[in-house]
Every structure is written in C-alpha cells, then in structure tokens.
Symmetry: C2
Subunit: 354 residues, 2 copies
C-alpha cells in the first residue's frame, strides 16, 4: 500500500524499474486474477490473448505532438500495430480514444488525423470505433490519445511455429517474451535511438548537425512476411521506453536466460551517437519506435537476417547477440574488450517519447 | 477543412451538436472507408462490430475524479461494459490505458484501481492488458483513462432477435440505434440526471438538501437477462453526455422515425428536479451513467417493463414514449398539455461528466 503522501513522478511513466514496479504493485495487483486469459495481465507481455484474439491498448502522450519524422498519431497507430505484431498476430481493427485540450488548433487535429489515416493505410488496418473528450488547457501539449487494437492468428504464425518446433520444443502458440532459450539469436531490425533523440531535439529546440528523424512506422507487414517466408521466430519486442536495455532485460527475466550482446554489432547512426555523447545519454536506454528485437532459433538466424535486410524497414538489421545459460541478466561485449552488465534502467532519460 | 485559427473548446467534448459535428467532420472523415466492419465507424453507434467481435473504446476525463456515488474508474468500467451491452453483446475482456498526472497521490490511484476491480467483479469481466503514461501537472485533475473492451454474441441476443422477428422484420443481427420502427415502445430504466448533478455538485461544492449520488454501474447482467428471458428488444443506448435529449434525437435520426415522449412518465428524483430548477438546467440534457433507453416491439413492452422493475438497476423503469411516423424528431407531451420539440442540445450543460 502507498504511504500517505507518496506521489506520481515523471519517472513512473518512463519505462524502467520505477514504472515496472508501479504497474506490478498497483495495476496488476488491483486487476489480476479476474480475467480468464491465455496471456493474462500478469504476464505483462506486449499484448494479451483471450481466446484467439490478441488485445492491446496503448495511451500516447508524446510531447511535442509533432516532431521530426512523425507525430502522436503515427506513433499511436504504429505502437498498437507493432505490439500486436510482436505476438505474431495480425491486427484487424483499431479504436481511437482522443483527449483534446481546449485551445488545440483544429488544423493541428486535422494534421494528426490525416497522419493516422496514412499510417492505417500503410498497415492495412482501419479504425472502427472511438471516443472524443475535451479537457481544459493544461500541460498536455494539445492532446493525448489511446489506441486499442485487436489481432488474430495467421497462417504465417502457425507456419513459423512449425519451423521452430522442428528445431526445439516450444509450448507457446504465440511469439512471447518468455519463449527465449539458450543459443537463440537476437536480431535488431535497425539503428537505435533515432526516435528518442528526434523527440528530445523537438522538446529542447536542439540541433545535432543534420536533422535526426524518428523512424516510427507500422511493422506488421514485415513481421508477417518474416514469419511466413522464413520462420523460426520465438519472440519479438519493440524497444520503446527504456530502450534496448529495458527490452533485453525484460526478456532475460521472463525467459530465465542470460543475453550476451556485442557492442560492435548494435547499429547506431553517427548523429545519434554524437548527440548521446554531447548530452551524456546512453543510447541503449533511449526509446525507439519502428524497431524490433527478434529472437530466432539459431539455425534460422542467418536466413532471417538476410530476409530482413531486403525489406525497407530492416535494411540495417544485425544479429546483436544470443541467449545463454552461462549467466543471468544482460551483458555486453564492449568495443574495448571485456564485458559490462547492462542493467535495467531506472527510466528512459527522455520524458514523454510516446 | 478547419479555418486557420479555429480552436477546440469545451463544447467540442460535451455531447450534442457541436461534438457530433467534430466527430463527423474530422474523425469519421479522416478514418472512414478503410476498415471492413459490419457496424463501421461511420454508423457512429455505441460500439463497432468486426466479424462477431464487438469493439469499443471510451476515454474518461471526469473531474473531479471522485464524486458522490462513484469515481473515474467506476465510470470507465461501466461505460465500456454498457456500450458493448447496448449492441446486445456480452463483454469478455477489457483493456485500461492510464494517463497519470505528476503529483497524483498514489493512494488516490490505489482507490481508483480498487473501485475498478469492484466494478469488474460486478460485471463479471476482467482487465487483461493496458498501459501507463505520466504527464506533467496540468488541468487533468489527477488522471484520465481509456477503457477499451471486446464483446461477443450470446444465446440471449439470438433468442431476443427471434422474438423480434416473430413480430416484425429486422435485418440487423444486433440491437442498434437504427433499428427503431413506428410503434416500438421506449423504456427508460430509471431516473435521469443523478449522475450529472452529482458531478456538478462535486465540481462546484454545491449542496442540494440531501446528497445526490451518481448511479454509475455496469448493466450487462440486467441486459443479458432481459434479452434472454423476455426478448423483443431492438435498440439500447446509454444517455450519457447530452442526456436523454441527445440520445432520443440520435435514435430518430438513425432510425428515420419520430419519437413521442411523455413528460409525466420520465422519472426524475425530486432533489435533481429542484437542483435543475435552481441552476436553470434542463434535466433532459444532463448526462447519465447507469441508465439505458431500450426500444422494444410493442407487444413485448409491458413484459419487458415488469421484468426490469424486478431488477435492482431497473426498479424505477418507465415506458416513456414510442416511435412514430407522424412526425420527425423528438416531441414531448408536456404536463400542462400540448407538445414541445426536444431539440438535440448544443452540448451537455455540465462539463467533464465522464
């Protein structure tokens, strides 16, 4: 139970340990044990599974609502589509709950809605229902929104799991955070940090040489093709708040394996690297959109990598490490030699990135 | 397209014509025509239908977050459960997206979450997934949240529609805003205005003799029993923002019939009537939670009314009017004799009631 005057701080929403503790000790504690669900709230996976329906709800409070490479609407569509995709499912309907701030320009609302339409067409999935509320002018920066979605099993997911089961046992019917086993390879589909640094530059009015742009995008089509045409995928996750460091730690905790990753394999654009050095930020802790980590059975990792590199969303993909039973947690083989522990971050160093 | 400097005002979120125009001319315009949905966004019904799944998303911004008889969490669960119930479906999973304001007391969050758990247990449906964001302290009043839900067809709904089809033709597979036909009776399940006036009293620190309490509650169990044990229901709606005046006008527009209602049949608690008179408010335009209007084929209306009056949620139910082809829109037979037109309100006179 909360002490009498403990209060919510920005870190409670920033990914990392403080947020995980809040969700676990308050939200999951309050709601747990009621629903009958194959992948329940307690699993704290990217989405829930009820029957053959994958169900996901994500709220979005990125500030400012427009930033280089995207906007709050594009994040909302991509985030929910990608979370459903991470379980191997195909999203088939979305719902949008808007909370608008008094004073928001209708032309800005139009721009956000048009961007959402474009992202829906990219993903091939539509918004079927929603709701609109208005609140007094405050600190939202114009609007926040919720994007919920439902997804279903596909032939590609079933075929993918068949490929996995030729190589090793797997009880799960979905690609889950808890599926990773020793020797599985981990693919990162592109460079990290672009999104967080793009939002930070818009928040602070900073310029880092050339403009750093967010890469936020729906990845469901790439994922379904990978599952259907290559297969062997056991887990997928989008490293948003808390970045790669948080996502890999979540996998190690849920799969009860260690992860060894190689610093020289993790793609980072030079501008992002420079910006992080200037600001004293660790790019591993910066939130991403439009990127996935993908756990693949070892025999299929090379083929999956080649496949991803042929796609526009995965052309910078790399195998960044593998699961191991030799230690717990996440370790990184550094450029200078030796290993360092990658701890779960306390929070994302950039607030309100999504 | 919006003029260059037109802005969102509180009326854009207050039910009524201004909100309907915003949703129709911006949201539906932007998102329409993409999804393949039996009851699509363009229908602007209480929820959407995709395949055999009913899907609903509602954002909640009631202020203050605690008020006599309820809180934001209880509204959120009840609102989504009731909207799904209005189509005749049974909700089977919920998702909760929280947006917390910096400075919110964790003990207040705990209280809201505990209230949500209680409402979930009342409805018999659980929260399976969700998301938590934090924003800087502003004008939210602590938190806003989104509650999405999915529902499915039930044997009770099928049996209900069979009863309807014995009396008259009905193409729809669900109970819809557009199903009303001439002579159908309209039942209101209880007194109007309690919720809106309870929230207003909390907003303004007003006292109206005895305390007026919100009646916000999940109604899915009552609805499923009515459908299964009586039947003959063609349409259901919860008259929230914009009140009974808005809900009845929505039915007349979508069903292309008129509605005649009787002032002496509309239940209003004396305290609410007095409060409305003191404040110059029309109780027909005050938002409700925990109440439904139900359109029933004429032969079944008496039986449905008797059934509802045996339930704790429907003990004050009344037949308040009927559909007609003699005129368009909503008319009320007044206590003093004569008829008056009940126009669609511009907005709910009480802001942020849900």
């Amino acid at each position: 139970m909360a002490s009498k005057d403990e209060k919510i701080t920005m870190l409670h929403g920033a990914g990392g340990t403080i947020m995980h503790d809040l969700v676990k000790n308050y939200v999951v504690k309050a709601f747990g044990g009621i629903a009958d669900s194959e992948i329940p709230l307690e699993a704290m996976d990217d989405a829930a599974v009820v029957g053959d329906i994958v169900f996901k709800s994500d709220s979005h409070a990125v500030k400012p609502i427009f930033f280089p490479g995207g906007d709050i609407g594009r994040i909302a569509i991509s985030g929910t589509v990608n979370d459903i995709s991470c379980l191997g499912a195909q999203p088939f309907a979305l719902a949008c709950g808007l909370v608008l701030e008094e004073g928001l320009l209708l032309s800005d609302l139009e721009r956000v809605l048009a961007s959402m339409r474009e992202a829906c067409l990219e993903a091939g999935v539509g918004i079927v229902t929603g709701d609109t509320k208005v609140v007094e002018k405050g600190a939202l920066g114009g609007l926040v929104m919720n994007l919920s979605g439902i997804g279903k099993r596909t032939a590609a997911l079933d075929s993918n799991l068949e490929v996995v089961r030729k190589k090793r046992e797997l009880k799960a019917r979905w690609t889950l955070d808890s599926n990773l086993a020793a020797s599985d390879k981990i693919i990162l589909t592109g460079a990290i940090g672009d999104h967080g640094i793009a939002v930070l530059s818009a928040q602070q009015g900073l310029k880092f040489g050339s403009e750093i742009r967010s890469d936020v995008k729906p990845l469901n089509k790439m994922v379904q093709k990978l599952l259907g045409e290559v297969g062997g995928v056991v887990a997928m996750k989008d490293p948003t708040r808390g970045g790669l460091a948080d996502a890999l730690n979540e996998w190690t905790e849920k799969s009860h394996v260690g992860v060894l990753t190689y610093e020289d394999k993790i793609p980072i654009h030079r501008d992002v690297q420079t910006a992080c050095e200037m600001l004293g930020l660790d790019p591993l802790e910066i939130g991403n959109e439009g990127k996935l980590i993908i756990g693949v059975v070892p025999d299929k990792a090379g083929e999956a990598l080649e496949f991803l590199r042929q796609t526009p969303q995965g052309k910078e993909a790399q195998i960044i490490g593998e699961a191991t039973t030799q230690f717990k947690g996440v370790a990184m083989q550094t450029l200078v030699g030796g290993k360092r522990i990658i701890a779960r971050p306390v929070g994302d160093p950039v607030p309100r990135i999504c």
